[in-house]
């Protein structure tokens, strides 16, 4: 064993108490990263493992507003066993018409489910005029098993309450709960009509050994042009997977911020540990130890403790998925697959050890410069420079952290921006810490001596002000930013959106009934503001002479080329749109097909006025010339279509109408009842309910983000406690001398309170300014929303953070305050 290692192990015999701060901070930071990484990996693994079940087959083909043609069906059945599912939004109503609720109507054939199992209580599969419903749906309608409800034109008996629906996650976010019927039940509702908004899914169970990816690719090539979306089991729920991965990435960055705060604690912990070792270092030098031996010896000690703390953090982080399962249990839509996920654990370990290196190397390098003469001259030497040798290592380690974070990110630019902002923030806070010390040293001295000491504590040599400002500031700024964003989003959802949005969106109004519908709407909601608009679904299959199916890379802004989109036709320019290029057609236009396109979508793929666009509607391709480009104000909350056709082209295609209506809240329920009774096929989506659903989802998301951000606060608190421990000697000294001179404990405590209140106030104000600026950028620039944060919530968040700082600061001062003067003087 080498001499430095022997020295290190001997020194560690003295106990690890001095390195507690290092251990706690690293543990917390690594725990956050390993926990977030393991959880998102476990959910993604579960999605992949249950891919067949989630997708409902090995391969799924989906098409809007139609079923497969005979040749298509024949081609599908050649690949394997088929199950046919039809999904659409519909209204389920009590027979007495007192209540109606939006549902996700799902018509399944006998083969469903191809994978997994359907369970209901009582265990009965709905047949004919029966329906199985989600328990929350039965509760909302106030109906029980055996009773009947109306969906569309059918009265259906509730056969059971759904306990397990294997392909639920694969369907993604839906506004309504499931109502499950068989194909004859679906036919009885009469809701599947030409033009109504439904989707048909054909799932294939492939023979053993068949490659689902290859089959999907083959089918996509053959049928992609006729509007078919093809998915295979390797990515059964791409939307959910992308969401989990993005959230995981974001939380990792939040965790990384926590780790930077923890790193400051690591630096403080190491510095104060080594400060306590100055006597020992000087003695070892006196006995002939070289700087290198001492450097290595302390590097080993700190490395060992850092490795142990990192391992403990990894172990605890790896248990996070299991803890989430234990706490959340059945309420998780995708139960995490419990296992050890090495990639996130290894990345977290690397982050932890690199952060330890960045923050610990400088104090270690500085410690080796303690001169042996300290023993004779006392400890009056100013701190020496650590030497240039460690600087490149620190820079490489810091670059490795940034490289790892950016390299493993799904969106490297976002990760780079986040890390850049965090570093900028650290820089600003460091400068600010220096500024506070500078100002404190130049402020007029308070008249009262204890307050003079409070002020002096902010700038005295060895004061922790700078580090505290960075550590607490970073945590509080992160929290403030989240509070600003969250309160802004929640505010928009709760107030702005309902104020702008109509009361109802109504879908599937048959073309031939639109007159009767308008009449009823006028009668049952006399103050209602009704807008009706024709609605079709179709997909863009070609731009100019380029087939979309042949385009290798579709940019994200050209999302309108993916899947099917809503289409409409209009004689007049829709409300909320503005022509920016070309001209709107005359109201009585009846010539060759013309379209008006959203300007941003057009620019994303280089389309301009005069170019052509081919749209497939119900399998028929229509080529239209672009007559104009429009700027759309998406904030209007009305109907906004990327593609609007001129009159004369789509009227004869089977389609339906959509409508929005705004009305006083008191009229909403009677209106919904009237519509449900008169138009059983029309789906009425009540905006308030959607808002509630979205608010609920947002608050769950906020809990996850807050949990990750709390680690930054915890690490900040650890830094505060460490800083107090480091300054305890000086504080005890002041407190004892003041007592000797006649100061009471109350006065000394007041001085400490003044010091921490000043610190908490300054850090809070800085966090408010920086957090608001960051929040503004996210809200206004990224989300493109109005700037309307709830300052009450933001202030409460900050006040809580400031109070915690103050209280912990005072608690940390109590030992110094309790020191008995006579005994302390003997020890000083």
């Amino acid at each position: 064993m080498s001499l430095p290692l022997r020295l290190a192990l001997r020194d560690l015999r003295g106990g690890l108490a001095g390195l507690r701060l290092l251990a706690i901070c690293l543990f917390l930071g690594v725990l956050a990263l390993a926990g977030v990484g393991s959880l998102s990996a476990a959910i993604v693994a579960s999605l992949a493992e249950r891919g067949q079940e989630i997708l409902g087959g090995d391969v799924q083909l989906t098409v809007a507003q139609r079923e497969a043609t005979e040749p298509e069906l024949a081609a599908f059945s050649r690949e394997g066993r088929i199950s046919h599912i039809t999904r659409m939004r519909a209204m389920a109503a009590r027979l007495d018409g007192a209540e109606s609720v939006l549902v996700e109507l799902k018509g399944v054939d006998e083969a469903w489910p191809l994978y997994g199992s359907f369970r209901a209580t009582p265990a009965a599969r709905p047949r004919g005029l029966q329906v199985a419903v989600a328990p929350e749906l039965a509760e909302r309608l106030g109906v029980k098993v055996g009773e009947r409800i109306r969906i569309g034109g059918a009265e259906l008996e509730i056969a059971g309450l759904i306990a397990e629906e294997p392909d639920r996650v694969g369907q993604g976010f839906t506004l309504g709960s499931t109502a499950l019927v068989d194909r004859s039940g679906l036919a009885a509702t009469g809701l599947v009509q030409p033009g109504s908004l439904y989707s048909s899914a054909y799932r294939l169970k492939l023979p053993a050994g068949a490659d689902p990816k290859a089959v999907a690719a083959r089918l996509k090539k053959r049928f992609g042009a006729s509007g078919w979306q093809v998915q295979d089991r390797t990515d059964g729920a791409p939307g959910t997977r992308r969401f989990i991965e993005r959230l995981g990435q974001f939380l990792t960055l939040v965790g990384l911020t926590a780790l930077i705060v923890a790193g400051i604690g690591v630096g403080n912990g190491v510095a104060s540990y080594l400060d306590g070792k100055r006597g020992g270092i000087a003695t070892l030098k006196l006995l002939g130890a070289t700087s290198r031996t001492l450097f290595l010896s302390y590097l080993y000690q700190i490395g060992l403790v850092a490795a142990a703390a990192t391992l403990a953090g990894l172990a605890a982080g790896a248990l996070v998925p299991a803890a989430v399962v234990a706490l959340a249990g059945d309420s998780l839509p995708v139960p995490p697959r419990l296992a050890l996920y090495w990639p996130p654990l290894l990345a977290s370990a690397a982050y932890g050890l690199l952060i330890a290196a960045v923050f610990a190397l400088v104090p270690i390098a500085r410690a080796r410069t303690v001169p042996a003469a300290t023993l004779f001259r006392g400890d009056l030497e100013p701190s020496r420079r650590p030497g240039w040798a460690v600087v490149p290592i620190v820079i490489v380690a810091a670059a490795a952290i940034a490289g790892l974070a950016i390299g493993t990110a799904r969106e490297p630019a976002f990760a780079a921006g986040f890390i850049g902002s965090a570093l900028g923030l650290v820089l600003i806070l460091t400068l600010l810490g220096g500024l506070i010390r500078w100002i404190a040293s130049r402020l007029p001295r308070p008249e009262h001596p204890v307050f003079r000491i409070a002020l002096a504590n902010l700038h005295r040599p060895g004061a922790q002000t700078g580090r505290l400002v960075v550590a607490l500031g970073l945590g509080l700024t992160l929290f403030t930013t989240l509070a600003v964003i969250e309160s802004n989003l929640a505010g928009q959802i709760r107030t702005t959106i309902p104020a702008k949005a109509p009361s109802f969106f109504m879908l599937d109004i048959p073309v031939e009934e639109i007159g009767r519908f308008r009449e009823l709407a006028r009668r049952s909601a006399p103050q209602g503001d009704l807008v009706t608009i024709p609605s079709l679904r179709g997909s863009v299959v070609a731009i100019g002479d380029r087939r979309v199916a042949d385009m290798a890379d579709i940019p994200p802004e050209a999302w309108f080329l993916r899947g099917d989109r809503g289409l409409t036709y209009s004689a007049t320019l829709p409300e909320g749109s503005r022509i920016v290029e070309g001209r709107w057609w005359p109201a009585d236009y009846s010539g060759s097909p013309l379209v008006s396109l959203d300007v941003e979508a057009a620019r994303a793929v280089g389309l301009k006025v005069g170019d052509s666009l081919t749209v497939s509607i119900l399998g028929r391709e229509i080529e239209a010339r672009i007559a104009s480009l429009r700027a759309i104000d998406w904030d209007t909350m009305g109907f906004n279509f990327v593609i609007v056709f001129a009159p004369g082209t789509l009227e004869s295609a089977p389609h339906s109408f959509m409508a929005t209506i705004s009305m006083p809240e008191a009229e909403e329920r009677p209106f919904a009842r009237a519509i449900a009774n008169a138009f059983p096929s029309v789906s009425a989506i009540r905006v308030k309910e959607v808002v509630e659903t979205v608010s609920g989802m947002l608050s769950q998301l906020v809990v996850a983000v807050r949990a990750a951000a709390s680690v930054a606060i915890l690490a900040g608190i650890a830094v505060l406690v460490g800083a107090l421990a480091a300054s305890r000697r000086a504080r005890t000294y002041d407190s004892v001398i003041l007592k000797m001179l006649g100061a009471t404990r109350g006065r000394i405590l007041a001085a400490q309170a003044a010091e921490f209140a000043a610190l908490a106030l300054v850090v809070s104000l800085v966090a408010l300014a920086l957090g608001s600026a960051a929040g503004w950028w996210v809200v206004v620039r990224i989300f493109e929303l109005d700037w309307a944060p709830d300052w009450g919530t933001v202030a409460a968040t900050l006040a809580l953070g400031a109070t915690v700082t103050l209280v912990l600061g005072l608690l940390g001062s109590l030992p110094a305050l309790a020191a008995r003067p006579a005994r302390a003087l003997r020890a000083l």
Partner: protein, 229 residues
Amino acid sequence: MTGSYVIDASDVTLALGSGAGRVEILRGVGLQVASGESVALLGPSGSGKSSLMAVLSGLERATSGSIGIAGADFASLGEDDLARARQGRIGIVLQAFHLLPTMTALENVAVPLELAGREGAFELARAELEAVGLGHRLTHYPAQLSGGEQQRVAIARATAPRPALLFADEPTGNLDATTGTAILDLLFERRRDTGATLLVITHDPALAARCGRVLEMQDGRIVRDVASS
């Protein structure tokens, strides 16, 4: 307890720790010191000198016994009341100076006056520092002063409020012989000028000889109490 004594202590005991670790430091000390006396307290290390001073100055609460200091009953007071009782009554000079490092010499001397709520604390402090020969060092911090200068500041800090009682615990212990002598001259000069009663702990027979009365402690008891020759 009689009013004519500045220090009137009887049967004072002090025990620290508990159980097997309990150590009896003072074992029934009785001491009366009249106003204006100067008393030297001698004794080997560990005999209880500093502890006796701590108890008499209210820095430590006695385990038992009665302690009257300048008319106040120290045995019945709590920590904060003892702190208030020290204000203006008691000045303390310690071997290691113990100045407040973040305050200038002037501020260090002003602190006890401010704590006692005296008007014109800074003028009094300035006058006191001039009296100890540091009128030119008012704005210097402790780290910028020599050991001798620091101890002068400590003496000025102790005498500025004109206390009835002045305690000094080996005031020259950290100083060289020449500086030590100058400091003692100063201490006795300030005592004379302020009329304070002085209790000084020392190992130095020369210092003891300058006091009117010499006490010797051993094992927590006063074993000798003689008028200085």
